[in-house]
Amino acid sequence: MKGIRIAAVLASCTLAFGAGTVHAQKAKNTLRIGLVEPISSMILYDGPNPEVGMFSRGLFDPLLCFDNRTGKFQPNLASSWKWLDDQTLEMKLHTGVKFHDGSDFDADDVLYTFNWLTDPNNGLRFAENYAPFKRAEKVDRYTVRIHTNGPAPTAMLRLAYSSPIVPSDVHGKYQNKGDFGRKTPIGTGPYKVETFGTDKIVLVRNPDYKHGTSCKPAARIDRVEAVAMPDAQTQIANLATGNVDFIKVSDKAQADMLAKQPNLKLSANESLTYQFMAIDAANRSGNAALSNLKVRQAMAHAINRTLVARSVTPGGDAVLAPDALCLPIHRACAYSTKPPAYDPAAAKKLLAEAGYPNGFDVELTATPGSTGLAEAVAGELRKVGIRAKVDRITFAGYREKQRQGKQQVLVSLWTSGGLPDASSPIQFFFAPGQRDYWHDKQIQAWMREGMSTTDEERREAIYKQAYDRANQQVYVVPLATKPDVFIHNRDLVLDKTSGGVYGLDFYEVHWK
């Protein structure tokens, strides 16, 4: 609350102060960004966090672009593609594309990138992202074939989201591949680097970016300047003084208060992230009540999901209560059931039927970023007699607790692993391992089946069964979506962009 009050003071000094600066930036067609964290590399291979991802998408191109506004793939460095069989994807590459250093892009760069990504000794932390790929093969200078390890329904999404192409002659020279992203981040994207220091990053528009599509168009802003300012209040002060043009907010009170300022506007972009309540149905934690279906149904009935979510999550009407663990944005997402609707009376009745007329004790484990939601959920549960308490925990602590089987109910959020595919939530929740608090062999069988085919219709039918069963068994209650929320100058247009885990791509941002 203290932070919010200070933010209110900072904002109430009104933003007229910064008006002159903003007009100057608009005239210069410059965008200034306040980063939450200092960036040490410009390519997502080194740091797959949202801000690095945003820069990586601006500087580098993958072979494909997935437009989450339409759910369709579009060309990026590849101009066309076709599956020769369910394990071989042939791609024609754009000709005439140049890297920022002026060198030509061709099949050798694709080959180099994929050989490196599939090298088991590459030292990449998230090497599993490239597990679908077996190898790349050069057909001619502008044709490549990507071979997958068996049918790989997520291969094209991985190509679009996780596999920017690097220049073979530059990247190949580095013994420590981490040096590439911080010393010579040379790509083919709509922006190129002018300055990359620990204090400031400056990008300028790439005039040679000719291979764009509506999914990844050429940049409209000439210059992007980014400075790290980890403290939320400092970001607000910089917004107030016109030193930055937008900030990303995760605190609802701050977002609501700032959105009321006359010079500012709130934009909430749909994201891959949603918040959930996962219940230990397999009784790993020793809380036997939770293995009773009626109890889990009662818990879901007790929660007014929309009200709870909108009371703690910024974004207003853009915050929705999903009906399943996959979102419409996920490919092959299908379901025909919904979680139990808000009905406290039904919750109490079910608890009595389950043998808990006076409720029971339960601990909600809340990961960082979800503690407010967990408190709100605990409040709803207490209203029907379930004595819920919240354990706030660090991320590493949560994984330890999860591994030890001590997690009764988890209130957390899930980014879909940055992959808009129905396979992603099913694997995240129900795959055998530390996270599995359900031991549902049927869902696990569907999970494997869904990953064994590239037929989209068949995949939808398989996942429909899995998501319906997850709803019927009330294993995990999807609580609310979590849009990416930005507060920005009214003259800046931050419409929903083609995607990316940051929630916007600055090559699509523009001044009115």
Binding site: F17, R125, A127, G178, V227, T394, F395, A396, G397, W414
Partner: protein
């Protein structure tokens, strides 16, 4: 003196080893590092691969001794995220932190010593009361709150200084005031107490009796004696300033060691975190030892 130095060095080394063990253990016991590093989607096999890649599957004592051995050879490891050598990261960020710490120390001395002297010359006067109130204010006020108030007043309202960043010396004004205010009170109180004691001592009375000017008595005799503990405290507070600027660097967006530590903790970049922890502890230990040696040099009773 040599014996004292060797004894003090031995104690410092013992403290350094203890700090390194505690720092190492705290990080390892904070949770399942391999699981956290492997990410939410990782399979058990993937977690095992990450654990093996970073040596987290080895016994704790083996990990510790391996790390110490490498550190003694100048290798503090590599950042898990940027894959930059940790030593290089620390050197890159050290300049901002040292500049901030030195400027804050200087400011605190420039304010504390004159204020302490004036307060001692007029004990229990309004000047003394004001100085004490300022000291209480400096000690009691939270850093982050004072920093935000300064930003509000001087950056947002008056627009005299930038809100954040470290591009120019102007960017350091508000952080310097914030940190300087936090370390000023102890020096002011020491100066005041030392001056009160010195001004009532025999040698000052003798100096006055000899007809020396008030300024000469005050500055050449009393202050020279009173300021001795301030010198040693300053060395210690420099250690505090180097390690204690995490929040101030974060609020003012200064890309120093504090912000590097903050950022690395949030990313569970444990090679960076443990190295910064030990580096700052060593700085503190060295400066404390230096303060002890200065004290011993200036006050012969300590040698006994």
């Amino acid at each position: 003196m040599l014996r004292f130095f060797l004894r003090r060095l031995g104690v410092s080394l013992l403290v350094a080893v203890t700090v390194s063990v505690i720092g190492f253990a705290l990080l390892r016991l904070s949770g399942d590092l391999a699981s956290a590093l492997a990410g939410e989607t990782a399979t058990p096999e993937e977690i095992a691969r990450v654990a093996h890649m970073y040596g987290l599957d080895r016994p704790l004592h083996v990990q510790y001794f391996d790390w110490v051995w490498s550190a003694l050879h100048g290798d503090l490891g590599t950042s898990l995220f940027s894959r930059v050598p940790v030593l290089e990261l620390i050197v890159d960020h050290l300049g901002v932190t040292v500049a901030l710490a030195l400027s804050a120390l200087l400011l605190s001395l420039v304010v504390a010593i004159p204020l302490g002297v004036v307060a001692a010359m007029r004990p229990n006067s309004w000047v003394d009361r004001t100085a004490l109130a300022l000291a209480v204010f400096g000690q009691a006020i939270p850093n982050f709150w004072f920093a935000l108030i300064l930003i509000y007043a001087f950056s947002v309202k008056l627009q005299w200084t930038p809100v954040s960043g470290s591009d120019t010396w102007v960017h350091f004004i508000l952080p310097t005031i914030t940190l300087g205010l936090a370390t000023m009170p102890s020096k002011m109180r020491l100066t005041r107490a030392g001056m009160i004691e010195a001004l009532s001592s025999d040698f000052v009375r003798t100096a006055r009796a000899k007809g020396l000017s008030a300024g000469s008595v005050l500055f050449k005799h009393a202050l020279r004696t009173a300021i001795l503990p301030v010198v040693s405290v300053s060395a210690v507070s420099l250690g505090f300033l180097l390690g204690g600027s995490v929040i101030v660097e974060s609020v003012f967006g200064l890309n120093g060691i504090g912000q590097l530590a903050f950022h690395s903790i949030s990313q569970i970049d444990f090679p960076v975190v443990q190295s910064i922890l030990v580096f700052l502890a060593f700085c503190y230990i060295f400066l404390t030892m230096l303060a002890d040696l200065i004290n011993a040099r200036l006050d012969p009773r300590i040698k006994l």
